[in-house]
Amino acid sequence: MRHIISLLMENESGALSRVSGLFSARGYNIESLTVAPTEDPTLSRMTIVTSGSDEIIEQIIKQLNKLIDIVKVLDLNDGRFIERELMIVKVKANAQYRDEMKRMCDIFRGRIIDVSDNSFTIEITGSSSKLDAYIESIDKAAILEIVRTGASGIGRGDRILKV
């Protein structure tokens, strides 16, 4: 099953490679991984999207906790959470595609952030599956370039991951 794991770690050089090294050394999947500093500059927050059986996810959480630089780990799937990912996609917008691309962008509540004679650059946020659905819905031949950030997640309501 797909899991989103959130963690706080010391904002130190090498911390990211400890995490990515752990996943490759133990053969765990990484679907996506995002990391950025938090409001406390000594801490970084990472979101890892992974998949595996319950036993594997349990081991992943334990192994992450074991890394000295990691302060806290939370499996967002243990409760209710919100997931968002940002995608920027450049699509063909010549005469053949222009109207359709505008329409699909509206349907998926994206925004056109750059326009040229032959292309639109569109920004879409949502769960990873929503972004997948957008890609499925448009003509593959129209896609010029895609960049995705990987998912970020946060617990709902009182679920807070903080030191």
């Binding site: 050394a25 349990e58 081991q59 334990k62 074991k66």
Partner: protein, 572 residues
Amino acid sequence: MSSNHISGAEIVIRCLHEEKVKFVFGYPGGAVLNIYDAVFQQNKFKHVLVRHEQAAVHAADAYSRSTGKVGVALVTSGPGATNAVTGIATAYMDSIPMVIISGQVPTYAIGQDAFQECDTVGITRPCVKHNFLVKDIKDIASTMKKAFYVASSGRPGPVLVDIPKDITAEKYEFSYPKSVHLRSYNPIIKGHSGQIKKALSLLLNAKRPMIYSGGGVVLGDASSQLSKFVRTIGSPITSTLMGLGGFPASDKQFLGMLGMHGTYEANMAMQECDVLLAVGARFDDRVIGNPEHFLSKPKTIIHIDIDPSSISKRVKIDIPIVGDVVSILTELNDLLSKENMKQNAYLKHWFKDIDQWRSMNCLSFKNDKKLIKPQFVIQTLHKVTKGDAFITSDVGQHQMWAAQYYPFDKPRRWINSGGLGTMGVGLPYAMGAQLAHPDAQVACVTGEASIQMCIQELSTCKQFHLPIKIINLNNRYMGMVRQWQEFFYGNRYAESYMEALPDFVKLAESYGHVGMKIEKPSDVEPALKEAFSNKLKERLVFMDFITDQKENVFPMVPNGKGLSEMITAEDL
């Protein structure tokens, strides 16, 4: 600059003094010249110059294994660090507390492919508990403090501190932190009381209780608490290769080692028990074999371990207890003392089964008049040293025979590479153990293949007058490889034959040691007695035993099979 400013190199040395380090094992080189200059100007610890960095780390590792203190190694950048990697990985797999200090090229040269530069922190990351690159002289003292703390607390392990050369030349005032706190690292000490009570009640009511103890008991210095507990509840106990000595082998309740080359009774009892208590052990592949087969006989498993990630890693655990093994066993013993202990009526039946398995006499072997049996050498070694020596081993058949035929009654006496299985550790391990225990008998049980992997250390032994006795079980084969080839590869002995062997007697003599070649079974005991006699008390003796080439290690659980699917000597 104020007058109390000292160099980074001197700060490193002062940190080692603060940690009361007695021995540093190392090898100098460009990036650590400043540190070596500071080593030269102090006499609070002894520096042991090895002949290869791998041996420095192994020797520091054995110093730790035999004393419980943190072992310290010092190596230079680039090849110094890469040579140390095998030693570090070996210590990591067996959770040995160590601090390795490596030199690095100057900060301004990092990333420039400088002479003797390598990404030491990157290379060692997967085989250390933690590592640091110190980029500012202000951080040396606090980093060293953290390194010793992380290495020795929780589940111990090696920690590497990489220090660029320019940092060791700069000057700064020295102040060693009194305590250390890491918000991201708080090992759990006390076990969950509810779980401990549940575990005890399960064990007391079990029909076929079994205890399986591992290296964690030795590392955690918990053998007296374990022995008390096991004797009170009266159950049988087995031990992993790493746990030998954690419970006295001469005790009736002890069934011998379990696992791939464990005893018949230990493996059968592991398979047939209904409640299993694992203490500081990790259910690895060489110990329980195939996990599905292991669980095919239903059992309730209790697991005490300091590392949560060891729990339910290969086998699902029913009652996990995370914490320090001494603290948890003490709590169990306290509960037991309040308990109105009646002899568990089922135990009698259980031991009847066990005695039946014991009667297989699975470690029996036939002595020969002409050929020296390796098992006989180990048995005689046990007799001559009165079972009280520090025994180090390399990796292979001789390692298993040492574990099987040299029963250990005390912890920290059996020193070998269990997890990584590193050939070549035996001699440097013996160096570390002998330096830590100068008056003790130290024997290195090895084979003609393993010993040649760190043979250069005979020179270190000469320099430091280490009276190690090397028990070389010379069968002209990489014995364990040959055994697998015999069993599983149709007797095709691919590259496992040792040709062009040196004359070990002359080799030992050329290093200034005593060499002996023993070819007849009747000479085994007299030779060992001579080697351990007062006459040779101060000398390293290299004993080259020419043994039976075809001898195999039994019992054996073939790879991927279950514990009760052993091959014994009788089967063949």
